[in-house]
Point group: C2
Chain length 347, copies 2
DNA sequence: TGAATAATTCAAAGCGCTTTGAATGTTTTA
DNA sequence: TAAAACATTCAAAGCGCTTTGAATTATTCA
């Protein structure tokens, strides 16, 4: 048997009832200060922490939040922003002693996973990741009465819900305008999967900027796909197989931008010189370069920060279940790097 | 109140005792087949799943495994392989209905986190990540009597423990020999942080290959640091500031290799032509390119696979606590890409 | 057919906490 | 100084399951 102290032992040691010891340690006011200190000292001395299984059953709360990470079955692709997001969220959970339950499922099993968590009452809340347009998981979560926050939004969903999102439309609008101001008229867009809400909003910002500047939208220059390095690479090649290749490319992620760079290198095109690149940047920790002029001009928003704020909103809404749903919109920063220059026709 | 069915309700509906219903659903043999089917049907019909809080308390097991992700305080760096590893481990947990508890802590708080998990008896087991040389977390986990598996090994630790690791020494030995066979005699090594066990083993394989081929080891060409893209970039620049820059570079990760590529591009050096690059590759999903000749020659080992096997070993050792500890050594594949060519002096 | 055996089912205890409602001890008030 | 008011502590119930040990029912054997 393991050498653990339980409440019973501790209360015997102290010559107090379990009730009093429990209250002393949980900060209830009706315990005398003398007793409280005595209890706290003994708890430390005997390395007592309440058994979380028992605590959860007795208190009716699990102090656990679930994050559900989906991997598409074919690609087994893991979203690379996930670990940074989680790391931000964790920071918030640690502050309030929540545990984080991470569940990885195939797309098609995701609904069942939510149902399952609710039926087992295994968690106090859920973070919904990577919402699509008209995402019916939101309706489901409303039915399940499980508190949740969406990381992102879902166009087309009429119900209200808690969300934290980057202003994707505005980020890509500004990015596109920035390129237009530099004289670019032919701008490619290498975006995420078509039914992802963020991808739709980004495309929409891009389109709006072109329209407002009376530039024709060439649908062939818009790519949708899973945001891998090879995808960026291949899409760039396709762009340059066209009769009139773009003079600038917008990318939806740093990983894509890596692929773009590899393709351009092979094509002997200099980034910034021959072609401008502007990428969205989630500010992932292992790409972060400090103190220097960054290679890529980008619209940047820390996904770790988003994780923290998402966790915070969820904890708030668990604490206060009746409160109005709210949305938090983060603005991306336009950061000028070396990858964008005034348009010059390739000689 | 939420519309959940509990065991009591279900047993009343069925006109059976809670005991019988519980046993029927948990597959005990002393329940008649007729009763079992009736119970299963009713459970489905009324959407019954046992409350996990209660189940855990009653059964004494949490059916939860903890993974502790550390972020260095200064850099707030998240290990990019983490999400792929987790995704592999999750697949195994799903098979046996384990939950995955993810905890993110600063390096210095990690010990306390383990103690905490043990004292609260919050998990049935732990996966230890990123072991260093002489890692004292192993001793601690042995004391805590908490089942665990190390992802990696720890040189210098004499106690026995369960581990799953890539054969880093052999991978880098082969990689180095491969470059030597191509005629390279000056080979740089851009490695991980110096006290990480994997980095030590990799450096050791590299050294052995040079020694065996009677090539002088130039310590100035060995770099240790956190494996980010900018680190790869900067280290490459340093290599080329030397009087006698290397003709080949070994890299410890794909992310580093990205940085190397960026530096070489700026230097107008062609990968494969002017300089050979060989990188370790964790086969992260978002770098995976299928069907083509890969850019990078690499020693490759899927970290997702390692995650699956680690989880499997942990589950086995929880099931059978008395069993001998075991180590699982994965061999990396040497995959030839475009980034390595026979040595030619730069003209 | 009645005892012995096997197959099912059940009532109740227990997991280790929190929380309710009652009891005791202490101080204040008149 | 007794009653009222307040402060502190306690015994016991309850959270929703699993599991023990006993009870009931069905089957087999002589």
């Amino acid at each position: 048997m393991k050498n653990t102290t339980d409440l019973k032992k501790l209360s015997i040691i102290l010559g107090l009832s379990q009730t009093t010891v429990s209250r002393a340690l949980n900060g209830f006011p009706e315990v005398s200060e003398k007793t409280r200190i005595r209890a706290q000292l003994a708890a430390k001395k005997y390395n007592y922490l309440p058994n979380s299984r028992a605590k959860r059953l007795a208190s009716g709360r699990t102090m656990t939040i679930a994050h559900i990470m989906t991997t598409s079955k074919e690609h087994e692709l893991v979203n690379p922003i996930f670990s940074d997001f989680i790391s931000g969220a964790s920071r918030r959970y640690n502050e309030s002693n929540y545990d984080l339950l991470l569940s990885t499922v195939n797309d098609e099993d995701e609904h069942e996973t939510y149902r399952d968590l609710a039926a087992r009452s295994a968690v106090d809340g859920v973070v919904l990741h990577a919402p699509k347009i008209n995402d019916n998981r939101i309706t489901m979560l409303n039915e399940l009465q499980l508190p949740y926050v969406v990381h992102g939004r879902s166009s087309g969903v009429k119900e209200s819900y808690n969300w934290v999102d980057v202003n994707n439309e505005s980020a890509f609008f500004r990015a596109t305008e920035f390129l237009i101001d530099l004289g670019h008229k032919s701008i490619g867009l290498i975006n995420g999967v078509a039914d992802m809400d963020f991808a739709i909003r980004r495309a929409s910002g891009y389109r709006r900027a072109l329209s407002e500047n009376i530039i024709n939208i060439d649908e062939a220059k818009i790519f949708n796909g899973e945001m891998t390095e090879p995808y960026g690479y291949k899409s760039t090649f396709k762009l340059f197989e066209m009769e009139n290749p773009p003079s600038a490319i917008l990318s939806s992620s740093r990983i894509i931008a890596m692929g773009i760079r590899r393709a351009l290198e092979e094509k002997n095109l200099k980034i910034g010189q021959d072609i401008s690149i502007l990428t969205f940047d989630d500010d992932l920790s292992y790409f972060r370069e400090d103190g220097e002029i960054p290679l890529f001009t980008s619209t940047k928003s820390s996904v770790r920060e988003a994780g923290y704020k998402t966790a915070n909103l969820l904890i708030e809404s668990i604490k206060n279940p009746t409160q109005e749903t709210q949305g938090i919109l983060l603005e991306a920063e336009l950061t000028i790097g070396l990858s964008t220059k005034r348009f010059r026709p390739i000689s």
